[in-house]
């Protein structure tokens, strides 16, 4: 039977916690949060992981031992754990608990088994062992326990931010569901109630620290004035708890929610065995009746709070609610009936806070209470909604089945058309590049120079020498004796986000940066857009992310399309292909705000010491700036989707490079020897060993 004499014996400030299987994904993540919240995890153990540490952002790293006995031997006296969290896999739980019992006796008081899917046989054995050896055990499948006044927790109660949901107060939450401990704590804040303890009992068929034990501890706890129960069907725990409450004359009122009545009669019913042993006390309905009988009141009705205050002042045993959010008015009713002060000023009231509403004509047919209005949205969501949902950059296409259908092309049996424009007229009067842009944009280019810049981009993309991956692809095809179309496909197959496709990321960067500005015409200089400030802000954000990522030991997102493996020797570097595009713009007295921004960005990175040199604005950036110049007015006018704008730079690169790949193939096929791309065996390295 339970050894704890009070709730604080389950968990209090100064308790030292050790975690089994601490290197597991969930165990390490939860331990990190706990460590930041309350710094009570002294160590963990995990077979074969001795010597590691769990790095904690607060700096209180957690040492990892290979086995429990080794941990107990090596830890100094003041660090030896008195609480154990079991995160082991189901098959290992029994062994790990036995190990704790064998080597932790006299030291360890309580074990919390977080593991799910532990067999009922093992669960029963854990209870028996712990009873015999004098340990308390909570679980299995518990989320843990939190002692709010002491600001300590075990397990994952409170999720990633326990301090948000749990403010110190007078309500003790005992719940079969772990998540509901958090939810109820949040709800109680709206009634001005804080929490003394939150205990997730676990929801396996056998609850090893059952309700009657916990209720007894809560009755004796000085910080607890009332007890909130979240009850699920199954077991006779509540029946036994209420019998004890009656017999021992419990004084603290209950707020009760019983879940699961909707499922009754819909699942396979218990067989005779269950019926014989468990009787009819285990269903949700039966449990509701048990509580109603104990409380001496009908289920709480928020519309009749006054009547309930009067009745509850007499019965003083508490209320049962029908829906979970009725806990808030029920708590207020209880406080009024008991003539108790609130723990604190109520947090924001529990009301509907809609973020996006468009009820259309339906709104006119609804009563006012069902037409919610959007008010201030909490941050950071409010700003994000403004930026991503209400900014309105780009077109929202309508979707439909596109089988046998196209907006982009047609053929009436006489004239093939592109977006309605006669292909024949295109042939007579326009260039290839203009026709391609018509196909991609859905309308003709607006300026002649756009076609010329696009053409220059295609030329720039043709090749960067035979060593490029895509040229190698074409050459491999020739060497293998493939036909030219295969070489073209292979050229396309050997470009991707890293080789040639970085323009998509650059386009995304430009959209992110300029979507918050008033930019309409990218070819005009005098639009009052402070490019240096934009560049400085972007670099500053980039540096922050880079620093955080480096500290966390993870890769960080680089600024796309800056720098080149060849053109990188000087303090200030240039990609000669980009220079040609820039020169064309200058010679023709043209301006592209995106290219200007990119150059300023490269310089700003250097001046803020984020880079050691001014990186070249590379050809991918130049192509992206050309295409984004063409796309931008169409985005602002909502004639083009953002997705299409993001795709354009890579499409241009691919179109140019596939033509280049064809050229590479023709050369290689005519003058190369068969299989000449093959790497001789002697030049290949083996990075393994023979295994048979």
């Amino acid at each position: 039977m339970i050894k704890a004499k009070s709730l604080s014996d389950l968990l209090k400030k100064g308790d030292r916690v050790a975690v089994s299987n601490i290197t597991g994904r969930e165990a390490s993540a939860v331990s990190c949060v706990s460590q930041v919240y309350c710094n009570n995890v002294v160590a963990g153990w995990s077979l074969g992981k001795a010597g590691r540490t769990i790095t904690v952002p607060s700096g209180d790293d957690i040492p990892v031992f290979g086995q429990f006995d080794q941990m107990m031997n090596d830890l100094p006296e003041d660090k030896k754990p008195n609480k154990i969290i079991v995160y082991s896999p189901p098959e290992a739980v029994y062994g790990d608990v036995k190990e704790v019992i064998e080597h932790g006796k006299g030291q360890v008081e309580t074990m919390y088994v977080i593991t799910e899917n532990v067999s009922i046989e093992v669960t029963a054995k854990l209870r028996r062992l712990c009873d015999q050896e004098g340990f308390d055990i909570v679980g299995c499948n518990t989320l843990g326990v939190i002692n709010v006044h002491d600001q300590v927790r075990v397990g994952a109660v409170g999720g990633d931010s326990p301090a948000e949901s749990f403010l110190p107060g007078s309500a003790c939450i005992l719940s079969n569901s772990g998540n509901m401990v958090n939810t109820i704590a949040s709800y109680l804040q709206s009634a001005g109630l804080g929490v003394s303890y939150g205990v997730a009992t676990g929801k396996d068929p056998l609850i090893l620290t059952p309700m009657k034990r916990l209720l007894g501890l809560a009755e004796r706890d000085e910080r607890t004035k009332l007890i909130v129960l979240y009850v699920e069907p199954g077991g006779t725990y509540e029946h036994e708890a209420l019998e004890m409450a009656r017999a021992e004359g419990f004084t603290k009122p209950l707020l009760v929610y019983v879940a699961g009545s909707f499922a009754e009669g819909k699942n396979v019913s218990l067989g005779h065995a269950g019926a014989v042993v468990e009787g009819n006390l285990t269903t949700a309905t039966a449990k509701m009746a048990l509580f109603d009988e104990y409380l001496g009141l009908p289920v709480f009705n928020p519309d009749h709070q006054k009547e309930f205050v009067a009745q509850l002042a007499q019965t003083r045993r508490g209320l049962r609610v029908n829906t979970l959010h009725d806990l808030v008015p029920a708590a207020a009713t209880l406080l009024a009936a008991m003539e108790w002060e609130r723990d604190m000023m109520p947090k924001s009231p529990l009301v509907l806070k809609p973020w996006l509403v468009n009820l259309g004509p339906l709104a006119g047919k609804l009563p006012n209470r069902l037409v919610p209005h959007v008010e201030a949205i909490i941050e950071p969501y409010g700003s994000l909604i403004k930026k991503y949902i209400h900014s309105g950059l780009g077109r929202t296409p309508s979707r439909q089945s596109m089988r046998n259908a196209s907006h982009a092309s047609s053929n009436d049996g006489v004239t093939p058309r592109v977006w309605g424009y006669s292909l024949l007229n295109q042939m007579k009067a326009h260039s290839f590049v203009k026709s391609v842009l018509l196909y991609w944009l859905g309308e003709p280019v607006r300026y002649e120079f756009e076609a010329r810049l696009f053409e220059m981009s295609l030329i720039a993309a043709l090749t960067n020498g035979p060593g490029t991956i895509s040229a190698q692809g074409a050459k491999l095809c020739a060497s293998a004796g493939n036909d030219p179309h295969v070489a073209m496909m292979t050229t396309l197959g050997t470009i991707g986000e890293t080789h040639g496709g970085n323009g998509r990321l650059a386009a995304k960067l430009l959209i992110d940066v300029f979507s918050n500005t008033t930019l309409v015409d990218p070819y005009r200089r005098d639009q009052g857009i402070a490019l240096d400030e934009l560049a400085a802000a972007h670099v500053s954000t980039f540096k922050k992310h880079k620093a955080a990522a480096k500290e966390a030991g993870i890769d960080y997102a680089k600024v796309p399309c800056l720098g080149h493996p060849v053109f990188n020797k000087a303090t200030v570097n240039h990609d000669p292909r980009e220079r040609i595009i820039s020169a064309y713009l200058e010679e023709n007295d043209l301006y592209n705000i995106f290219l200007d921004f990119y150059h300023r960005l490269a310089k700003e990175l250097y001046s803020q010491q984020a880079t050691s040199k001014v990186h070249a604005v590379n050809v991918d950036a130049a192509i992206t700036c050309v295409l984004m110049g063409i796309a931008w007015p169409r985005l602002v006018e909502k004639q083009m989707t953002v997705e299409r704008a993001l795709d354009l730079p890579f499409l241009a690169f691919a179109l140019g490079r596939v033509a280049g790949g064809a050229g590479e193939y023709l050369d290689h096929r005519e003058t190369g020897t068969e299989m000449d791309m093959r790497v001789p065996v002697a030049e290949c390295r083996t990075l393994g060993r023979a295994r048979d």
Partner: protein, 430 residues
Amino acid sequence: MNVRVGELGFLKELAGRFKIPAPDYVVEPVAQSVVREKLERWGAGIIKPDVLTGKRGKAGMVRTVTDYREAVRMLKQVAATEVSGQQPRTAYMVQSVPADLEVFSAITYHSGLLGPSLTLSLEGGVDIESVADSAKATIPVCVFRGLNAYEASEALSKLGLDGQLNANLARCLVSLWDLFISTGMLSCEINPWRVTRSGEVHACDFKATFDENNRKFRDLGIQWPEYPTNETPFEEEMKDWAASSYRGQAHVSDLGGKRILPILFGGGASTIIIETLSQLGGDPIFLSDFGGNPPYERMKQTAAICFKHYLGEATLLLILGGKANNTRIDVTFAAIADALQEWVDEHGPRDIPVVVGRGGPGLIQGLGQLKKTLDNLGMPYVFFGPDTPITMVAAYAAELASLPAEPQAEAAPSTDAAPQTDAAPQEVTS
């Protein structure tokens, strides 16, 4: 799901292995000559359907036969007749054994004792739970030491069973414990043991459930038969779909409601949402739990199955979950939006309100994706973030769904639809 086993499985696989005396039996299809030979030896046989449901006797599906021709006919008839809505796998005939007494027994885990227990009763039948305490005995069993013959004998004595009968039955109960603990069961019953005054014992009728978390039952190496279920077509399709991949959950249970089509995320949250909807008259069509960070294709097909079965008749679409830890909202909402679009492409517009509540990674992008689609489809909507409790969103949805339905023609999207601020021209003009 925990695997269940009935009498036929017990007779075939377990009784012999654990030395529990049981009557002889034959299983349909069986040759007439075999039936004739068995009945000549037994005198009488009892024909039963092989189905995992109670009340077989009350349904008139348990028949005593003495004539072999009738037995053959009855075997075929019982095998083809549903019991409580469930189709039997087959039918079988067991030897009718004489009895002066029937003893009902169950071994299960007891929430009050927090361990296994043995319950014995002299009265059975459907209303066994109402058997008076004086007519039944429950004893705790040490999960380590197990049930010994002395303890079993004591329990039998409490019911007034003594002598040879007590000794023989006690031995059988020990064997039953052996079966229970060696195979990782949650519960098992023999209802009843048929006992003669001379102490002859037969285990008649058996029912057990294995604990799916206990690998012992898998180690038995027995392939338990699959019983026809009474799942609805929706449940069946979703179950097959759920089983096709381990990525993301797709659990549903039909509730028989008519109004709210709920696409819900998270086990605990789903329960509480359905609970709230049910209590407030939301009349949810099914219970669902689609968490576990499903990838796009998985979520899209999951939503498509829901829409295929119920979007046509629902009066409100509810997409609701708590604040996700891992599930990507942008991915799951884009998938739901696309499944909705495809349903409308195929079946035509549907203008029921959509109520959404969610939190988690990629939330704003997800809401944006869903909003775009709903704007395009002209479906009215209200979106909530994680700062509105899920039960309040559910309560709002329940009230919205319980309003009397407008005639379809009036409610259809019309030219006076609310301004679709983000909606762009349907086609790019050239």
